[in-house]
């Protein structure tokens, strides 16, 4: 079965590259994730060796160095995105901040898929009042905008980076639970599933095995979109002062700090915001095209 899925992946990639929008999305996402991985590794090693300078060997400037002589310099060749009030290079800070956004997106989406799959498949398999209750709970979660609920949870927990991840996961799983439940219900009536009753295969195990493998394609497409949603929500939270990593810049938080420099120092809040926009557009293009490819609507 694994061969089928890799074949699906290859097919998806091939179709993506043929499409201009899809290719653009793929490029943006690869650059973002690739950079985040490299820079993230450097930051981890730097933190481990207690040598923070290792974290910015790839950056044009030390992102944390305060130099008031360079305060609020507009974009130029030396500082392509300008400098902030403390004279720090905004471009370096943006690059330095990226791994934190990538990490939160990956952790939240994968945790949500796992929790959602476990609960959703369980609800679909159990049926009856268990199913009804679980679906009502997901309804209640989906009623409130994710942002409002995460604000409530993170503030109650204490608005740190880890707690914000927890808060995001807590509100992110219901969509996936509904997806997997729908998949189980679709399978339940099929002949070959009915046939598993004859063999001694546990249906419960069967659903998990079968669904995990067979839902990979649609989940990849939806998750690609969802990475963008998580990054957007997290940036908005950080803008409000929730979940900033200690000792590191964050894109939303940079934009919020930069508000004080408006209107003359426009580059300070605008470039971090623009960066998030580009990253999320990348994920949206990728997810959108993947969904079309899976649905067989490659050309409109």
């Amino acid at each position: 079965m694994s061969e089928v899925t890799t074949g699906g992946l290859k097919y998806m990639l091939k179709m993506l590259i043929r499409d201009k929008a899809g290719l653009l999305g793929l490029i943006i996402v690869s650059l973002f994730l690739g950079w985040s991985f490299v820079e993230g590794m450097l930051e981890i090693i730097a933190a481990h060796l207690r040598k923070p300078s290792l974290g910015w060997v790839l950056l044009p400037y030390d992102p944390l160095k305060i130099n008031l002589a360079l305060s609020l310099k507009p974009p130029s060749l030396a500082h392509i995105m300008g400098t902030n009030l403390e004279g720090q290079d905004i471009f370096s800070r943006i690059l330095y901040a990226m791994p934190w956004d990538a990490f939160i997106a990956v952790v939240v989406v994968f945790s949500a898929i796992i929790i959602g799959a476990l609960l959703g498949i369980f609800a679909g398999w159990a049926g009856g009042w268990v199913d009804e209750l679980l679906m009502r709970i997901t309804d209640a979660f989906l009623t409130l905008p994710a942002l409002i609920l995460v604000i409530a949870i993170s503030v109650l927990l204490g608005p740190t980076y880890q707690n914000t991840i927890f808060g995001l996961i807590a509100v992110w799983w219901p969509t996936y639970a509904r997806f997997y439940r729908a998949q189980v219900l679709r399978l339940k009536g099929m002949d070959f599933v009915q046939a598993t009753r004859l063999s001694r295969v546990s249906r419960f195990k069967f659903y998990y095995k079968y669904l995990f493998l067979n839902s990979i394609d649609p989940i990849i497409a939806y998750a690609a979109l969802d990475f963008g949603n998580v990054i957007l929500t997290y940036a908005t939270l950080a803008f409000l002062g929730i979940g900033k990593p200690v000792g590191y810049p964050e894109l939303g938080a940079m934009a919020s700090d930069g508000l004080s420099a408006l209107p003359s120092g426009w580059w300070w809040p605008v470039f971090p915001g623009l960066t998030i926009l580009v990253i999320v557009v990348g994920f949206v293009l990728l997810g959108d095209r993947l969904q079309d490819i899976i649905a067989g609507r490659v050309t409109y």
Binding site: D139, T143, A255, V280
Partner: protein, 341 residues
């Protein structure tokens, strides 16, 4: 009769959702703070509280009682309009929230309407010109607005329209040299209209435009997307073909017959859009220093004001559940098939 049963069923549904929402929040809080002492620290909004004060808080809020008792007590208090006492405003929480909520509703409701109109218009134009340049432009625009962080849209609008072009004021609720008319309703704008204080009304509207447009921009994309998709489906339907065969001009079929049918499902999106706008308002109000719920929530985050956060979450939950209910009922009225199923 059918209609009445339909309405009652939706009402029960809405109340149950609200009940579950409260239970979920309480369960989450208890996962976070399993002991009465930990809970009391959260209630006191401070980790450093003397033990006696901690005990007093535990007694006052009944934090040592079982979880279901606490939930029932909260719901009982909620039914009596008691959301606790705000430690920063030194007033009952509900009265504090009710001071800020109307200001946000005045902003969010027009923004939602604007988003729906904008979404249906752009969606219809894109569908009618499918795969032509204008379709690609519309799709590009909604993609970009969907992916844009709310604060980015707000900052760009503020910079260009307020700071560079000086067309509208950059921030505030109304011109500070004016005084707000006395409270007849909780809505300052309506008070201004009732008392005929036109300079105040005009000033408020001028301050409202930018945050409102921001909220509409960040949320209209979903309406565009769904209008476009539904219209493309309907254009291939039998009734659209029949209308064309009857000899109606294509333009009238697309923008009349098809659009009218395709916009009915949009009603169900109203609650979703309203939710988007409320969430967006938290950030947008901060940037435009528009002193509504968003501003209040930002302050509560800063102060780690637990009671305010819990209260605003519940009140926003109630507003969205009401919006859902209204959308459901409206949909049922517009499309009789919904009532029967």
């Amino acid at each position: 009769m059918d209609t009445i049963i339909f309405i009652i069923r939706r009402l029960i549904n809405a109340l149950f959702t609200l009940f579950l929402l409260i239970v979920i929040i309480f369960v989450l809080i208890h996962i976070i703070a399993p002991t009465p002492e930990a809970l009391a620290r959260i209630y006191a909004s401070s980790p450093h509280v003397p033990p006696q004060a901690l005990q007093a808080i535990i007694q006052k809020y009944g934090l040592n009682k079982p979880l279901y008792i606490q939930i029932l007590t909260y719901i009982w208090n909620l039914l009596h309009g008691n959301l606790g006492f705000d430690p920063y405003y030194k007033a009952p929480e509900l009265s504090v929230i009710m001071r800020f909520l109307p200001i946000t509703l005045e902003l969010v409701i027009p923004a939602t309407i604007l988003a729906v109109v904008l979404g249906i218009l752009t969606g219809a134009i894109a569908a009618a010109n499918r795969n032509k340049p204008i379709d690609y432009i519309v799709r590009g625009v909604y993609l970009a607005t969907w992916a844009a962080p709310p604060f980015f849209v707000a900052i760009i609008l503020q910079l260009i329209i307020a700071y560079y072009l000086h067309l509208l004021p950059p921030y505030g609720l109304f011109n500070p040299s004016l005084t707000a008319p006395k409270d007849i309703t909780p809505f300052p704008l309506i008070n201004g209209i009732i008392t005929g204080d036109w300079p105040f009304v005009i000033s408020m509207i001028r301050h409202m435009v930018l945050p409102m447009i921001t909220l509409a921009i960040i949320s209209f994309g979903i309406v565009t997307r769904i209008t476009r998709a539904t219209m493309i489906d309907y254009m291939e339907s039998d009734f659209a073909r029949l209308s064309i065969m009857k000899g109606l001009p294509r333009r009238r079929v697309v923008y009349g017959v098809v659009l009218r049918n395709a916009s009915i499902p949009i009603v169900t999106l109203i609650a979703l859009l309203f939710g988007y706008s409320v969430a967006g308002a938290v950030v947008v109000e901060e940037i435009f220093q528009y002193e509504g719920m968003g501003y209040f929530i930002t302050q509560a985050i800063f102060n780690l004001d637990y009671i305010a956060i819990l209260g605003t979450t519940i009140i926003i939950g109630i507003s969205i559940i009401i919006a859902n209910l209204v959308a459901d009922l409206l949909y049922g009225l517009l499309d009789p098939r919904v009532r029967l199923s």
